[in-house]
């Protein structure tokens, strides 16, 4: 009961005591009345009426109170919204607090660690410390999970690296050593044409080994953050032309025609060496996977977000959707031989993706088996 209600009960008690002791005047005064205005009968009638009301409220609330005492929070308070029940008012508050606490506990159990309990002083302090401990544990778990993911990625990269070293680098070396052994053993019996043929093969093997080593080195340096990025304004057409020179001989041997469709004034802002590496890898792949007499087309156009989209399209053997989906993944093996047995590890495309994305662009491939492939990548055309 509130202090006002306690005062009223106290006054009623005192009036009753006065009446028992025969002090009518004092009883009237407690009610603020003159003795002549005071009616014992009326007062007793009212007193009994109030007492009955109180008893009724008490028994009405008893079920509710007993249920709370037994821990049953599903119970509802007596439904009498427009009559004040002095007996249960404070217990309704307790009931409400316990219901909220139950809801908070359920929320915490579901992983909602933002809850903060404010109920029962010491209890709240302890409970909130427990939530804080759970939150810290969760943060720690998230951190460990993230580190695990990073470790898995690093492990996949390491596996890829060793796989390239163990297999892809070994194969061209084996071929190269075989050719040198052939020459060492049979040189005297060979004609000049035989020697020239072997020399051409040796050159091709050495070129492949060199390109692979170049990619490995660049990838390793990039992983260590050692690749410098010096963006400058570059006339795209000139750089594309420069990049095609590196694959011109291989394309000539296979009779592949290379065409550009790039506006002379189109400029990009990027690191020259990085763009050359990307183009070198895409063009080299296009030559590898295009049969004799095929075509390679390089196009570029302005794209959304102050960028330029470059496309390297070939009329080659293409690939199925499964292989296309794995192209840029370090944890998937995508290396396969070119149309004339050229070696390929898949490392070049991973390198391209890393380079393009690290500089805010994106790369994607569209391909259909037997109908060629198109590789699109974007690169900025404004100074960062």
């Amino acid at each position: 009961m509130q202090s006002e209600e306690e005062r009223i009960v106290d006054v009623l008690n005192r009036i009753l005591l006065c009446l028992i002791e025969g002090k009518r005047e004092d009883a009237a005064e407690l009610l603020g009345l003159a003795e002549s205005e005071f009616s014992e009968r009326e007062y007793c009638h009212e007193f009994l009426s109030n007492l009955r009301e109180f008893i009724s409220q008490y028994f009405g609330g008893a079920v509710f109170l007993n249920a709370i005492a037994n821990g049953n929070l599903e119970v509802n308070p007596p439904d009498d919204p427009f009559r004040q029940n002095y007996v249960i008012t404070q217990y309704k508050q307790l009931h409400s607090n316990l219901l909220h606490l139950t809801w908070q506990t359920q929320q915490i159990a579901r992983g909602d660690l933002k809850q903060k309990v404010s109920f029962l002083g010491e209890f709240s302090i302890g409970f909130n410390k427990m939530i804080e401990a759970l939150r810290e544990k969760k943060l720690m778990e998230d951190k460990i999970n993230l580190q695990n993911e990073q470790l898995l990625k690093l492990n996949a990269e390491k596996d890829k690296f060793f796989s390239i070293i163990a297999h892809d680098l070994r194969s061209p070396f084996t071929g190269f050593l075989g050719l040198t052994q052939l020459m060492a053993e049979d040189l005297k019996a060979m004609s000049l044409d035989d020697i020239q043929g072997i020399a051409v093969n040796m050159r091709d093997s050495a070129t492949n080994i060199y390109r692979l080593l170049e990619n490995l080195l660049e990838w390793s340096r990039m992983e260590q953050g050692l690749i410098p990025f010096h963006p400058v304004e570059i006339e795209l057409l000139g750089l594309v032309h420069e990049s095609t020179l590196m694959i011109l001989e291989a394309a000539r041997v296979k009779g592949i025609e290379i065409q550009y469709s790039i506006a002379e004034e189109l400029q990009v802002v990027t690191d020259r060496n990085i763009l050359k590496t990307i183009l070198r890898n895409l063009l080299s792949n296009a030559v590898k996977f295009t049969p004799r007499g095929g075509q390679i087309l390089i196009t570029a156009k302005a794209a959304a977000g102050n960028s330029v989209e470059v496309c390297v399209r070939d009329s080659g053997i293409g690939m199925n959707a499964e292989l296309a989906g794995k192209l840029f993944r370090i944890d998937a093996s995508t290396g396969r031989e070119g149309t004339e047995g050229e070696s390929s590890t898949g490392l070049g495309l991973i390198l391209c993706k890393e380079f393009v994305e690290k500089h805010g662009g994106s790369i994607r491939a569209e391909s259909e088996e037997g109908k060629g492939s198109s590789f699109y990548f974007t690169i900025g055309n404004q100074t960062p």
Partner: protein, 174 residues
Amino acid sequence: MEINPKYNFEWKDLGNIELGRPNLGASTHVAVYRLMQYTMRDVLEKHWGPEKTNEFFIEAGYKAGEEFCKNALDGSLDFDGFTANLAEQLEHYGIGVLRVEKADLGKMSFVLTVSEDLDCSGLPYSGVAFCDYDEGFIAGIMHAYTSKDFRVKEIDCWGTGDRTCRFSVDVINS
């Protein structure tokens, strides 16, 4: 009677309080808020009767709730996040201390309490629940958040002798 309203409240109508009250700031005494609300109720009841007045308060609260949700709350949060955000903002604006007693997301049925309520906490017992405006306010917030209509009913109120305002909030299934 033909009515041609000239005013349609929007959040921006609250004005730039920081600019307008550089010394007094954004807060005022609760008594001032209640002075306006209860004198308004007094006048409206005299002109329109208690039932119509309650409807006015519910409708005004609904509009306020919708605007409050759109402008002061993050409606993109999930229910847990939204509840936390709502409780935080109700406290920030000094409207009350929100607590969830029960939440059945499947049935969209909730029981909420608002303690230290701006409208009624501390009012003398009158046997009457006063928080019609709050009923509308909660319904407006829920509508703006879920795009569904809700029936909000005040179960307990300071005016009826309780020490916290309790509301049942249930979706209206069309």
